[in-house]
């Protein structure tokens, strides 16, 4: 296998250092910060508020996402990110538990050095857990890039993203550790974590290349979900008297 020369010396399958911290804001019901290398995103969740937005289904809970870029006005790109995030989070939340309510997720970009959307999805997921919103399973996001020669690299930096032929943001459900017997968790004969929640691609790629991305991303998501599980587990609720 040929070696690709990545600027910071990682192998193609190596992710940047991950860091996740929960409960960093005092007013928000749930908050988390997630950083992959230099890319850092802060997410805050305000728990179910009464009423849904105008066009939403009042028989289900509604999720509202607000994306705040680092500088500048909100434009189409931010709106697109909001929509992707909203649909991803809607599929992992159990929407029938609090009907006719709105849960707001606010995402603030602290620094963007590539793979911003994946960082945001991971941060939003951790913030939802911190807020105690009922969710079916966690979502882990990964970004796979396709180089000119068909080689797939994971978790690109901004410079790498600009040089690539195409890239794909993939969101998978996290791996399940369950006490239930194996068979009951399968969906159509496959374990749940083989599913894909979200996939957004940019650039041109062939079907085999996309499937290669999927397979790489899927393997990385197993590691990511271990990390997520560990970092979410270790924290004890430090401040139980949060002002709400």
């Amino acid at each position: 296998m040929m070696e690709i020369d990545r600027a910071d010396g990682r192998t193609p399958n190596q992710l940047r250092p991950l860091a996740c911290s929960r409960n960093i804001l005092h007013r928000a019901h749930g908050s988390a910060s997630w950083s992959q290398g230099d890319t850092k995103v802060l997410a805050a969740v305000y728990g179910p508020k009464a009423g849904t937005k105008k066009n939403e289904n009042p028989e289900k809970a509604c999720i509202e996402v607000i994306w705040k870029p680092k500088t500048g006005q909100i434009g189409k790109l931010e709106k697109e990110y909001e929509m992707i995030l909203k649909r991803t989070l809607q599929s992992i939340c159990i929407l029938t538990i609090n009907p006719n309510t709105t849960t707001s997720v606010i995402v603030q970009v602290v620094h963007d050095d590539g793979a911003l959307l994946t960082c945001a999805i991971n941060a939003a997921c951790a913030a939802l857990v911190d807020a105690g919103i009922p969710i079916k399973h966690l979502a882990v996001a990964i970004c796979c890039c396709l180089a000119e020669d068909g080689y797939v690299i994971l978790d690109p930096t901004k410079l790498e993203e600009q040089k690539m032929k195409g890239f794909a943001f993939l969101v998978f459900p996290n791996s399940i550790h369950s006490v239930l017997p194996e068979g009951s968790l399968l969906v159509e004969g496959e374990p749940v974590e083989h599913g894909i929640i979200t996939s957004v691609t940019h650039g041109l790629m062939s079907v085999e290349e996309y499937l290669k991305c999927l397979e790489r991303g899927h393997a990385a998501s197993a590691k990511l979900s271990d990390f997520l599980r560990r970092s979410l587990k270790l924290q004890l609720p430090s401040d139980s008297s949060k002002a709400k």
Partner: protein, 464 residues
């Protein structure tokens, strides 16, 4: 509609009475005395010009960016300064996204008056081509957490971001001297802004019932107060701005008292800001040395005892106190060049401040782990077992998951005490992500204990 009313937060009558009664005996609910400021924490982001300020529970981030624009017609020689405040909905459930409300606009205006009209930032130095091109400085303030007294915190964030911001240097060229070339930071060192003085905002809250006054109100006190006043003062004894918009009336003697208190507080806050910026600048200078590794070096010694080797080998010693997470990250990302380190030089140069540390060459080593085979691995390798022993001896209990096949190290590696540094430098709310890294990565991890480089199962790597 009804939904908005039900979601609005209102303080209960009991809480209000409690706060007021406590104030009557000069007690505040968070234990401060009425004229005491909360603890200020100033942190910096990755880039120049980004700051994060925490004033008690209030959390504000500031970013400064610059752009070349045409000047205003009535001021062709001056650059411009503009402030954008974002009351992010994450700070408070009552903040709505979209257009800034009146309190956001008021905050922006107070800070703006303090900076621009008192001429704290020198705008004439921002002129590139008179009448054609000037630098427009834009300050974005994001309020992340509303714990009360947003003005003061946002002001400090704006000042810190301005002091650490660097604008690119540009030169005039071309036949008629009209062409402007902007140099990227790698080519020419960007320049800091010229800031003449630091206007510090100090907010006072007045309570009708008790005729008392407190400094730096918290969110709860703001809900109870009858009026507020913000005084922007600097250490020279000047008053840059006063803002008292409505609220209950205050006697003249009280106002004079407030002005005196504001000057006093301004001095202590200015000192804190200057200390923080000083630390940042030192770290930045250290980083800068590493960036120019390929060029011929002059031995530069800075307070931390840095030594720079010529040509490919560069090597920096730092005391633990000077290392910061951000700096280490820069270090690792910046080291693109291949670096060969000589153990003899390292040992010779080992002047330990607190703890002798080999940083950048380790950083390089970690970066090049698993990298292209053309990189010349250092001849002496350390196998994972001995590394585990050394790690264990440093008191690490977590098992090391990540084994590296090839380990590059020097003798100096055994001198490292990265694990001791970890608790010292880690932020309290970051979670340890579990197993410690292998020896080569300990340096990076030493400074960033919560980071963890994920590596896919080695089997997949071997398979591919």
């Amino acid at each position: 509609m009804d939904a908005r009313l039900t979601n609005a937060w209102r303080m209960t009558v009991n809480e209000k009475k409690f706060i007021e009664t406590a104030l009557a005996s000069d007690l505040r609910i968070d234990g401060r005395n009425p004229l005491e400021y909360r603890k200020i924490t100033i942190k910096f982001g990755r880039e120049d010009g980004s700051s994060e300020v925490q004033l008690g529970q209030t959390h504000v981030m500031g970013f400064v960016t610059s752009q070349l624009v045409q000047p205003y017609r009535d001021r062709p020689n001056e650059g411009s300064l503009s402030i954008f405040t974002e009351f992010s909905p994450m700070a408070d459930p009552s903040f709505e996204p979209g257009r800034p409300g009146e309190s956001a606009v008021e905050l922006g205006r107070i800070i703006d008056r303090g900076l621009r009209e008192s001429r704290a930032v020198d705008t004439e130095s921002l002129c590139v081509l008179a009448g054609k091109l000037v630098w427009a400085i834009r300050i974005d303030l994001h309020i992340l957490d509303n714990g009360g007294n947003l003005v003061d915190a946002a002001n400090i964030a704006a000042l810190v971001a301005l002091l650490t911001f660097r604008r690119p240097e540009c030169t005039l060229g071309g036949e008629d001297g009209q062409q402007v070339m902007v140099h990227p930071p790698e080519v020419k060192e960007p320049l800091p802004l010229i800031v003449h003085h630091l206007p510090i905002a100090v907010t006072f809250a007045f309570f009708n019932s008790e005729h008392t006054m407190v400094v730096d109100p918290t969110h709860n006190e703001e809900a109870v107060m009858g009026g507020r006043m913000t005084v922007t003062a600097n250490t020279n004894g000047d008053i840059c701005a006063i803002q008292k918009a409505g609220g209950e009336g205050v006697t003249q003697s009280d106002i004079m008292r407030c002005l005196r208190l504001a000057s006093r507080n301004a001095e202590s806050i200015t000192k804190k800001i200057n200390d923080a910026v000083e630390t940042y600048n030192t770290e930045r200078a250290l980083r800068k040395i590493k960036r120019h590794s390929a060029s011929v070096a002059v031995d530069v010694s800075i307070s931390g005892g840095d030594v720079r080797e010529p040509e490919n080998k560069f090597f920096v010693h730092k005391g633990i106190s000077e290392l910061s997470r951000d700096q280490m990250e820069r270090l690792n990302l910046v080291s693109e060049e291949k670096c060969t380190s000589q153990s003899s030089d390292i040992n010779g140069g080992l002047s330990s401040s607190e703890q002798g540390r080999t940083s950048c060459q380790e950083g390089n080593a970690t970066n090049f782990l698993g990298g292209p085979s053309s990189w010349d691995p250092y001849s002496k390798g350390v196998d994972s077992d001995s590394l585990k022993v050394s790690l264990a001896s440093l008191g690490i209990s977590a098992p090391d998951k990540h084994k590296r096949g090839e380990q590059k190290s020097t003798q100096a590696m055994e001198d490292k005490v990265p694990e001791d540094a970890k608790p010292a430098t880690s932020a309290t709310d970051t979670s340890r992500t579990g197993p410690q890294m292998s020896g080569e990565k300990t340096l990076k991890d030493a400074v960033k204990p919560k980071d963890k480089r994920r590596k896919r199962a080695s089997s997949s790597m071997n398979a591919s």
